[in-house]
Symmetry: D3
Subunit: 254 residues, 6 copies
Amino acid sequence: MRVDGRKSNELRPVTIQTNYLTHPEGSVLITVGETKVICTASIDDRVPPFMRGQGKGWITAEYSMLPRATEQRNIRESTKGKVTGRTMEIQRLIGRALRSVVDLEKVGEKTIWIDCDVIQADGGTRTASITGAYVAMVLAFGKLMQGKKLQSMPVTNYLAATSVGIHSEVGEILDLNYIEDSSAEVDMNVVMTGDGQFVELQGTGEEATFSRKQLNAMLDLAETGIDALINQQKEALGELAASIPTSNKGREEK
Amino acid sequence: MRVDGRKSNELRPVTIQTNYLTHPEGSVLITVGETKVICTASIDDRVPPFMRGQGKGWITAEYSMLPRATEQRNIRESTKGKVTGRTMEIQRLIGRALRSVVDLEKVGEKTIWIDCDVIQADGGTRTASITGAYVAMVLAFGKLMQGKKLQSMPVTNYLAATSVGIHSEVGEILDLNYIEDSSAEVDMNVVMTGDGQFVELQGTGEEATFSRKQLNAMLDLAETGIDALINQQKEALGELAASIPTSNKGREEK
Amino acid sequence: MRVDGRKSNELRPVTIQTNYLTHPEGSVLITVGETKVICTASIDDRVPPFMRGQGKGWITAEYSMLPRATEQRNIRESTKGKVTGRTMEIQRLIGRALRSVVDLEKVGEKTIWIDCDVIQADGGTRTASITGAYVAMVLAFGKLMQGKKLQSMPVTNYLAATSVGIHSEVGEILDLNYIEDSSAEVDMNVVMTGDGQFVELQGTGEEATFSRKQLNAMLDLAETGIDALINQQKEALGELAASIPTSNKGREEK
Amino acid sequence: MRVDGRKSNELRPVTIQTNYLTHPEGSVLITVGETKVICTASIDDRVPPFMRGQGKGWITAEYSMLPRATEQRNIRESTKGKVTGRTMEIQRLIGRALRSVVDLEKVGEKTIWIDCDVIQADGGTRTASITGAYVAMVLAFGKLMQGKKLQSMPVTNYLAATSVGIHSEVGEILDLNYIEDSSAEVDMNVVMTGDGQFVELQGTGEEATFSRKQLNAMLDLAETGIDALINQQKEALGELAASIPTSNKGREEK
Amino acid sequence: MRVDGRKSNELRPVTIQTNYLTHPEGSVLITVGETKVICTASIDDRVPPFMRGQGKGWITAEYSMLPRATEQRNIRESTKGKVTGRTMEIQRLIGRALRSVVDLEKVGEKTIWIDCDVIQADGGTRTASITGAYVAMVLAFGKLMQGKKLQSMPVTNYLAATSVGIHSEVGEILDLNYIEDSSAEVDMNVVMTGDGQFVELQGTGEEATFSRKQLNAMLDLAETGIDALINQQKEALGELAASIPTSNKGREEK
Amino acid sequence: MRVDGRKSNELRPVTIQTNYLTHPEGSVLITVGETKVICTASIDDRVPPFMRGQGKGWITAEYSMLPRATEQRNIRESTKGKVTGRTMEIQRLIGRALRSVVDLEKVGEKTIWIDCDVIQADGGTRTASITGAYVAMVLAFGKLMQGKKLQSMPVTNYLAATSVGIHSEVGEILDLNYIEDSSAEVDMNVVMTGDGQFVELQGTGEEATFSRKQLNAMLDLAETGIDALINQQKEALGELAASIPTSNKGREEK
């Protein structure tokens, strides 16, 4: 039995509120249980120096938490004068994941800035960020298409993320909240596409290890969760959902 | 006629949503027109080194904007590696203003951390921060009283803030939005108490100057606005409002 | 009775030594009582990126204290690796104040760097910096005119600054020294032009508040002080003083 | 056919030279093909603040490259004034991996500082660092045991790491060199114990995705490689190798 | 013939104004030609961590230039956020030089902070700083003795510094001004004691080299200059001069 | 008798292994006793901004130590976020020394980046760095000549460095190891050319002074040591040695 009564393969309640802010080209407030993240997508008509002149776009992400998103107040990274290693890892992960489902040549020389700001944290902030940021990004591309600055949707696939883990008493579980995350023996973040292919797998056993069999059990849970998340993304996107291709390549191959 | 149709002495619509987040001792989402700020108050059982051993409390504030709170995306201060001069000015102002209406000896050796995070900006973010942070702080003190960690409310007065300015066509105006702020000749932030006394006055004419007569006209507008804001604070605080003393000292003396 | 025997409306002795250094285009050593500040104005033939191509000039200021300008030695900001919030506030204030009396279009694409370095501090260092920097800036413009790099004086008005405050025993006072500043209930910095208009008003009551009546009393004192300071500026500038327009616009309107 | 003629499941030549430096408690020069890393383990008799008073030890890692370890010279992180996100990710990975096979209670209140300095880079520097750092750490513990500062070997298992990936023409391959790494569609780092359990799995498809079937093929290769690496670690450790427990728990369960 | 008409072995005019500032325990304005440096000595009743508990004192120095001390305005190191290599070299040199003539055991657990702030620069700022700082330090020790916080003068010798160099046309010269310094082939800073012994020798030929014979010619000039500087120090110190021992050890041995 | 049994004028065993790494244009592992330094020379086809358009090359050096090069582990400068004063002094010294024997006009608009990374430290790391870096630089120029990117060797002279010092019991000694360096009264680094001319002289007596006679005794030792080091450089360079001019100018003049 899980700490909040959920079944092993049960996600927390998820909501995705689109166009949450007025200024960004795309914005979303995603809630996964008590975790709340504001995700925005901003369009910049330049690319970073290392990308110039290639006619391709770029997607980069930043992640932050409000100081009191957590039980204990955290010192702001602006006050520390530097970004922590944890933040950098998450930022790199979000950017990499989104780039894997975008045809950057179609985007042209633009940068999509993704900002994920955690308003309230209860575990799974990085996976909620990816799931929400995907929607904010599609909204922003939709706006570019509407303004005739983009001919067609450059997104090649759906994409969502969730966490799975192993708990000593409950076994393999889906979508860990903060209490579960703190006591889990193994913690794995999984980013998958709409056709069941992996984009990122990050599994860690800080004071434990895991076998191939346990890995497979966790990946099965992740697949279930990500299917449900992608359904919510489709609903949130409304008409825009139709502009994104779907396939079953990953599933057939399995 | 103002850009959004308001009268010279008219505030934008204001809402104050209390207990917006679950973790902080006090939290508020304040909206003033399109400006939205999350204000939290966190209790820390230590004081900074320069205050130790005096038996008194301390109140300190931090202020930040989400990168896409504004029309153009701003670079995060954590990425820059330093806090800008503008942010520091605002943080110092918020802390100073709140300390002026708190009996720090009653608080005892505790630090109240105020965090004001601007989710969306449309002018007046620093004054909205003060008005909202005041409520978050009173909520946090209320929680301490409830938990018997404080005997009585250490707040000695109401406190709110607004901006006034001079526009070349419209003359003196109250509560400037972003468009008004950008084109105003004179911009003044006013922090006042519930009895009509000044706590802070910051008036600036970047490319213009102002006379004593204009100053007085602006201060009259500010007083009207702050009275209305304090009424909203009382409503938001509900029963807690009764724990804060009110007087008319400032008004009588005028 | 004030701590140094002055009357409420009495400035400390002021001297302004022009051309104090050989390298800068304009330089001044200003002393206000025991407060001593070296103010220099340097001409740079470029403007910052955000001003380029507009054909206008820019004025920016930096402020610093020698480590032992004060009773206790302060750690250098270069050693700390960052500029404090107090310094940034003062720098922004000095720059804003000077820009308010200069026709930047007449200056053309040049930056005037103002450096105010406090050699000895006894209260009022920011207002002494403004008063001295104004003279250094006019001297630098004079040099440009002499070298035919500027056709006419781009300065539109006189400008000086002083502090006023409220002391619990003495009441409203002009030009606070360090001891008075430390014990004042209210502290206000006032920047005014030669015709009695306000450029900046910054009034703060850290653990006290002030009424409209007290505000008016302080502003009367400030006006007296600034008139005297401007007379000293005129004397220091000698022949150059004639190149600056004077009016009574502000006073008549009062 | 791979670029350097290796078979899909073939490691590059590996050497582990122990006691490479005179000062550190444990040190190793590990070479994997043209990749060369100096790994040292230093004992500090204190633990970081968050670990104090728990009677447990801590293991932390730092990673760096000489500026000219690579084809193009890199700017030093000390010159930049900050550590990059990539470095932080690697440092956190190395520390986490080593902690998973050490009984920190047996270590007592000591910190083991692991330093991995890449002298020459040709792909796989992070996995070579883990494999080499493991040996340096065991040597350091051996020295503590010799000096009677530790009663028994606190290491609970062998541990090594390698990379696997998918190349569009060659398919799944083991131990990618720099050219292979640059052109691979999927790149995965695997850290495993001596009994075939996973400690870390980090798989990434920057512009590609991978199926469950491909994942399994890569994991089979990783297992082969890690077995070979652990054999080399045993040889390098000589007599000390006997002090580390071995089991087949992971393999049996598969 | 030198650029300013001086003879090869002629110092520029030197003045040492003592007690230039009111707050520091010791302070001096030293001018060497157009070079002007404010040197202060501050007493701190603590020593840095690495010196604690040894019953000995410490002397440390900081050096800075006003931005417009030079022909071209320099960016402040506080703005850059770091101290340059040149500044660090000079600071270390000043501290080392002063420590060589002080009996730190006599000082007890105190830190003497030396601050050298260059108001105007025309070559030789580091040697003027040493010569001036020595006097400021002796004044500070004098004050401690007067206040009975020190029983006797802990200074064991006189100490002054000057520069010498080789100019392609003029040959070996003493006390280079900025123009000479910029065009010299060899530049050497010499710090000597009152009895003609060396404390520091720093000779550099950036695009030239120098022979043993040339070295000896430069050292002869340096000795002449330092003798003259020490005479000025004695005059500036007045009665305090008598508290410092003098010997001829260095000269006799030559 | 010296601590390691050497005679006063005896160098430690020196080896210079050329082409130690595969990527850099020039690389060397130099060992002087237990001191080991990797020196590399990298060619960059640009020069720093202040050198552009002059048709001349530039040589710049960076120096670092591995954290455990020393008896006690040092904190990395990248972790501190800044380079220490000691490192900056050494970097400036290495760059200056090498530039003194290169005809930068012959090099053309190229930057030679010298990196000296100390793998193991036992005194004399900065002088070993200079001696090794000289060889790495000549190798890099040789490669440029081979690739027809340089017509002739731009190096005008041999160059090596060593330390000398005064030990209270042993007197003047050559090439101090760490123990000798820690206990020496006077420490002097000497950089000389192949014809016995000085390039740099840096002599320091932290708690002692030295006479002209002692200086001359130290310089005699330095000359002996540098002659021997240059012989080793010639041997290491093999055929390239012939491309560097030799003269006896310095010696004849003495």
